[in-house]
Subunit: 326 residues, 2 copies
């Protein structure tokens, strides 16, 4: 009888964690929506099941949520030339497991939210793990600014991170602002941010500490798992109370128009800049699961500018000048 | 007194040609729209006028046209690292002048159209022209298939090309189908195509004939100009009769829904694959002039599939299996 290796147990714990988040988050969203239920599409990368697959869960046309997806995948394969070149991955095989969600509410006063938590392993020629890391984050995209909502979202994320080091939240808050930026428009973030981190590696990894790039970090392996779990665990508390508070606010056609204009920026970011989206599409990922992130209805006007001093303009101002929300 | 060089005269003739197309095309579109007028934004790359600029002409909320742009630019600068790397341009300075248009009608039975005709010059260290070429094309994006419209559009383009060589239309029709493809979805073209060509160089260019890449071609300089002019000149005849024939067809919410779904694919193509768009955005082009190509209202549904045998499905079928329209 085989005894499972620590690596196998770590991977299995992570898969369990991701699947339980998927259930819990879908349940919380269904509950607050009160009408729509998630539909599930299970898919495989190859017909014979080799390469793994995923579970795409989609909600649409609810009371609160116009379109949303909470997707998990457990996938693996050989390192391809595209991965070597574009992801700078050295090694022979890879394994990835993560959850990715984007929720687009109807009401322009309820923000869109995105989150992703992922774990990757790279194997060498002898099937030993040569590199492994966690990445993740959550960010909020409101259409109208409620400072208390931005504060609540950021504080919840900060509280989840603080036990692992007070320096983490400020570092990953900044990374989030830098990452979720529509750089072709100068500085104009997608929303009011959150946290973003990548390449967090267990202390025992064979990658030497002095070769870690900006933002990369090593942590004790147990602490690392708890850090990642803490981030995912706080998601429901970070988002649902904001939905609860704003979902019944009355809105008009002008508010919807602005929401659709800003959703256009969401599309610009996801298709022009988001590394996950571009990588997925370039490596034959499942197109519909990847593009579920795109908003349901969108508007692209030529050179649309909100009136200075208006509520729409105030939102744009914080996208152009990212703020401290704590 | 300086005598103008042949190169200068060639360039000036091309600028004149592009500007006269802009006027003629806007006039023809305004006439058939019957309500909306083009608005003009003139812009410069730098406040001091160095680097050139352009004339962005936008129509919106007309009787027929929901959003459209007919833009010209006359721009020049130093070859940057991004250009060297991404465009494989060798040389010191560049000059570019062209017209780019995208027209999005309201009525789902009137097709969207795109066209672009451009001329580029590259200069060496001694300010001599070291390379120069024309590129261009026009393609049609219907939401419902009228075979006679597709036939008319393609025949008009073919008739303009045939005098310069019977082999040109089939070659550039194929290039168009290959270029305007949403490759992340396998084979699914943006519409029913048209023609696309690039790197057509005058016979006297110093670039050796045996170093021309696939699709690149040399022509006698006078013939080349006439070829390019013939392509632009036929645009109004290629598109306007189709608008005339379809603009008053009654349509319903279902037709609009499908149009917005297909417009989503237009967005996917322009932001994920279109070289001009990506290059413009990466090299500090004027964002609003570049993104005027995006459709006004768009819908992204999860895994939307038209019913087999329906009119919507028939359109999708010809995108998945590009056809000969002559």
């Amino acid at each position: 009888m085989h005894t499972k290796t620590e690596t196998q147990l770590f991977r299995e714990d992570w898969i369990t964690c991701v699947l339980s988040w998927q259930s819990a988050i879908c349940e919380a969203l269904e509950k607050i929506d009160g009408k729509a239920k998630f539909k599930t599409d299970e898919w495989q990368r190859h017909p014979d099941g080799k390469g793994g697959g995923g579970k795409t869960r989609i909600i649409s046309n609810g009371n609160v949520f116009e379109k949303g997806g909470v997707n998990t995948s457990v996938v693996y394969g050989k390192v391809t030339d595209v991965m070597r070149k574009q992801l700078k991955i050295e090694g022979e095989k890879w394994f990835a497991c993560g959850l990715s969600l984007v929720i687009h509410p109807f009401n322009p006063f309820v923000p869109t939210v995105h989150a992703n938590w992922r774990y990757l392993e790279i194997y060498d020629h002898w099937d030993n793990v040569s590199d492994q890391w966690f990445g993740g984050g959550a960010d909020l995209t409101p259409y109208y600014l409620f400072e208390e909502d931005a504060g609540h979202f950021h504080r919840t994320l900060k509280n989840a991170m603080d036990p692992f080091g007070k320096e983490l939240y400020p570092r990953y808050k900044k990374w989030c602002d830098e990452y979720f930026n529509n750089a072709h428009r100068g500085v104009e973030t997608r929303g009011i941010g959150g946290v973003f981190y990548d390449h967090l590696k267990p202390a025992h990894t064979s990658v030497p500490s002095d070769s870690l790039k900006g933002g990369e970090q090593k942590m004790d392996v147990g602490k690392l798992f708890d850090f990642q779990r803490g981030n995912g665990d706080c998601f429901i508390d970070a988002y649902i109370p904001i939905v609860e508070k704003r979902k019944d606010l009355p809105w008009n056609a002008e508010n919807k128009y602005w929401q659709e204009i800003r959703r256009g920026r969401y599309v610009e970011f996801n298709l022009l800049h988001d590394r996950g989206t571009l990588f997925g599409l370039k490596t034959n990922g499942r197109v519909e699961s990847i593009l579920m992130s795109l908003p349901p209805t969108v508007r692209f006007d030529y050179n649309y500018q909100p009136k200075e001093g208006s509520e729409e303009w105030k939102l744009l101002e914080v996208c152009r000048n990212p703020r401290d929300w704590i």
